[in-house]
Symmetry: C2
Subunit: 573 residues, 2 copies
């Protein structure tokens, strides 16, 4: 993004947050990483919210002060000593800062509160297990002593999945349990400890010939926006999806086998490519969000890494309907799927063209000339991956179909620009919130039949609030449907107002027939809607499994998945 500002430039926060500050906890990603709005985007924001440069003179609620709170520790000194005995003294902490750090995720609600120094639920003891044997002993001990156990991987939860609602201990898996256990080139699998983060895994796979002596280079195929700060175990227990999921599949599909430590025992699921030996326990565990046990090790599919074959594409469509129709035709065309594959609605396209630096370029002028109107036109971008002939053929068919639906080809430029910033967009959040503007997201999955209805209903709710932006895209495609990802921008300071606003949107999703989540998971935030959404019979199945694995409700208790939720107010648990 160009830094050559012509007009007033707001004083964006440019330093790493102060040590042990609230900001160091809620800030996204790398402490030294920033992605500020560019001038075009800044102007657009000012105009959208009716603001002037005056409003961007001084940052508010920076949260750069030291963490300080009073929350007694619920465990006895003897219990803490017993835990220390299991993992070693240096692998536990009861320091205030640590207790808070590992108790929060990345919801905007948490950021709003932490900016004001408001501390809610915190864990009693932070524990860094060294290996799965530690986890086994910890779960055994906690089950006997009825101590709640929470698990922290990369910390990127956006639904209060990490919130230690009942105190107890939080296991941080990413500290030590982040190793590659084994790579099998024959089976095309990698076995990892659950706490490994995306970049470490991907780097090892890309460089497998040098590191493990394999013949080919590999990729994990899973690139969520949180890639840099999410763990392989987290991907699976929350049912995440990567940006290239249309080709590689969702986290659900990437898992060959798993090892879980539960209060009623430890087990490893079988490592078969497919099997017909009754309901698949390997799949039953996926999405359990820490409520059945701790995922300690997993074997993932890997794929040949051939970036030299990657092709990029970008199109502009006259309308959202035409973009949806074309993407459906592509998804159902039986010629293979694109890897990255995204369509933006008119409002997101408007901002996206600015964010990706397309606004004002030759592409912009060509679009205008050809009659693709702002706030009507819709962007599609993507990549194809795989073997050379395959990627060429997919791109050829994508072009054929897009042309049929009235699109103009924009070359690979927009996709390349998008790719540059693919993991960096969340960094914008802090800059905007420093000036009282929140940005948040909700997402759902939809059938093709229902996509427009859900889109309209959510937009109605959001746009009913004055000066509120609603950017929508679909980014995970299947022959049977896709997802809708909503990004909101609003000037908002009051947490209660925010919660009400967010509830209204989740209501709109639920009532219009979207799934409560396509890939963010449930956590506690969505939990109050679960029983009505799934129905009491299906909720009872999840509760039966919970009761089996965790009879004393020590695993991530207090609202998670709605399993032990009575009424709607998980915040009061």
């Amino acid at each position: 993004m160009s830094d050559a500002w012509k007009g007033f430039k707001p004083p964006w926060f440019e330093e790493p947050p102060a040590e042990k500050s609230y900001r160091s906890i809620f800030k996204w990603g790398d402490p030294c990483g920033f992605k500020h709005p560019n001038e075009k985007l800044y102007k657009e924001i000012k105009s959208a919210f009716g603001l002037t440069d005056e409003d961007f003179q001084r940052r508010v609620n920076e949260g750069n002060e030291q963490v300080r709170f009073t929350k007694p520790i619920g465990l006895t000194p003897r219990q803490i000593a017993q835990i220390a005995k299991i993992v070693g003294e240096k692998n536990i902490s009861t320091e205030q800062y640590d207790r808070l750090k590992y108790s929060v995720g990345k919801t905007i609600e948490e950021a709003m509160k932490l900016r004001k120094g408001i501390v809610e639920k915190v864990t009693d003891v932070v524990v860094h297990p060294r290996h799965k044997q530690d986890v086994k002993e910890l779960v055994k001990f906690c089950n006997r002593a009825r101590i709640p156990v929470y698990v922290y991987g990369g910390g990127s939860s956006v639904n209060f999945g990490l919130r230690p609602a009942k105190g107890g201990i939080t296991l941080v898996l990413s500290t030590h349990m982040n190793k590659i256990v084994r790579i099998s080139e024959l089976n095309q699998t990698v076995t990892v400890e659950a706490g490994i983060l995306g970049p470490a895994l991907e780097d090892a796979l890309n460089n497998a010939p040098a590191r493990f002596g394999t013949k080919h280079r590999y990729t994990c195929g899973h690139f969520p926006q949180s890639f840099e700060y999410s763990s392989a175990g987290g991907w699976v227990v929350t049912l995440g999806s990567g940006q290239a999921s249309s080709y590689y599949g969702d986290a659900y599909h990437l898992v060959i086998s798993q090892e879980y430590v539960t209060p009623v025992g430890t087990f490893v699921t079988k490592e078969y490519p497919a099997t017909a030996t009754g309901p698949k326990v390997n799949d039953i565990m996926k999405g359990s969000e820490g409520t059945f046990g701790v995922l300690v090790e997993l074997t993932l599919k890997i794929y040949r890494y051939m970036p030299e074959n990657r092709k990029y594409f970008g199109f502009i469509f006259p309308t959202w309907e035409s973009a949806v129709n074309a993407s459906r035709e592509i998804s159902q065309g039986e010629f293979g799927m694109p890897a990255v594959f995204r369509i933006s609605d008119a409002e997101e396209t408007h901002f996206g063209l600015k964010l990706y630096g397309i606004d004002g370029t030759i592409f912009d002028r060509a679009m205008q000339l050809r009659g693709f109107k702002p706030m009507q036109r819709c962007l599609m971008l993507g990549t194809t991956e795989g073997h050379a002939g395959f990627t060429a053929n997919v791109k050829k068919n994508v072009k054929r179909i897009c042309k049929e639906f009235g699109a103009m080809y924009l070359t690979g430029f927009p996709a390349r620009k998008w790719e540059e910033g693919r993991f960096r967009d969340p960094y914008l959040r802090e800059d905007l919130q420093d000036f009282g503007i929140i940005t948040d997201t909700l997402e759902t999955s939809v059938t093709w039949e229902n996509i427009h209805h859900v889109h309209q209903k959510v937009r109605e709710v959001v746009k009913a609030r004055p000066r509120t932006l609603c950017l929508t895209h679909a980014s995970h495609f299947y022959p049977q449907g896709t997802n809708l990802y909503f990004i909101f921008f609003a000037r908002m300071d009051d947490v209660r107002e925010y919660i009400k606003f967010q509830s209204g949107i989740i209501d709109a999703i639920a009532k219009s027939g979207g799934s409560l989540s396509h890939h963010h998971g449930v956590g506690r935030m969505i939990a109050p809607w679960m029983e009505e959404h799934l129905g009491k019979e299906q909720m009872a199945v999840l509760r039966a499994l919970k009761k089996h694995f965790d009879p004393h409700n020590i695993m991530n208790p207090g609202g998670q998945l709605g399993l032990d939720l009575k009424g709607r107010d998980w915040r009061k648990i």
Copy 2:
């Protein structure tokens, strides 16, 4: 298969079985359908078993006599009247023949016994529910009255999955509950009643433009060898795989949503292409083999039907190892998968070349000239499906890889020959058994690392028995592994000997690390191995689910999946 015999031709059974005879129950498929061995195969069989034409003069144990047995009905007249009240008098039967017919599947053990008029477990009352509401009321009534409920779809179970071990009632879903409920071209799904059989479904989809006014023709993509006599519901609850699964996926992957009637309630899973709302109840139910409840309706993915793009290929490899290596390279190549995709080991290739009529052709001479030696050479055959450019590119890459691994191209001829007989090979079974030769199958899934070990260990056990053939192929491919499908031929009349022989093979599969089943399911036959195979922790998960759905154990009780099995002898339940 050519019918022009030069030498002696055994008196193959040529008429439909006598009405209400045992043979009409155990005979595979169409009563008027036959596929006799051709002369080459007949000669090969004689030689393999050291037989002469003398041994094929007279058929034995034809089982063509009327069914006759004495088994008291366990239900009271009042209970039967109550059931009749639910479904209507004409939709129940307590006739001997019906009771037996709907109590057996297609195991060789059942055929051996029925040929001798030995009748084991039979249902008390055969019930043909008209619709899901009937099933709901029946399950409710039976749960209250503690009457066991078994479900019969197409009747092709090869593991005693239909065996009414505890008496009670058997619901036949294919009689009335065989309709297409809805087709959604937008969502590319079809909703069907669970009892619909393969041909009715596929025919409707192929002709969807005329029948439902769709723009495109469709296919269900699922073609198990039992296609003509298996139901859509059966495919899912037993985790079947079709012959084109390498491209379309296993039954597990074809299911978007399901409606189950269980003793604790009825529910429909959500129809989303993907979702992150906790463990997927839709997937938990798959493979439950009638032990959790009755699958009454399901929504399946469908695919564009483009037979005009189908390409055929066939190759001969110098060795099994080279065929395995090539098929692994194809499965991991990232250019898309073939649809039908099969490799045969040396022994199966030897018979396959005769069965498919390749033996003695120009291809055979070319193979001999090029040094592909009988009992070493291995056949690969397959098809590619999908959009035109896709199928051409997959075939191109298959050819490239096969050449690298030393194979000779055989054109599409073997695959076309195979396709002609794809659903008809099971008809050979009766002809052989009429002369005392049994043919049976067992199957497993394997990782690439373990394929040769499992193959060798199973062959060791089978070949330790004199004059016993063991034909093996792999026919369902994944980047992470494949399946092994073993076909045995043996001269055997004694059921106890047979059971011991079969147990030895299952032992060999289990001990060598294969899955207990890739796509036949568990039923009762494999049940005794389940607990050791999955481990007690995972078996406990299945039992917890069973207890939740079916607290009084009325759904398919008596050994199924090993859930209520104590000890190894399910035959004594």
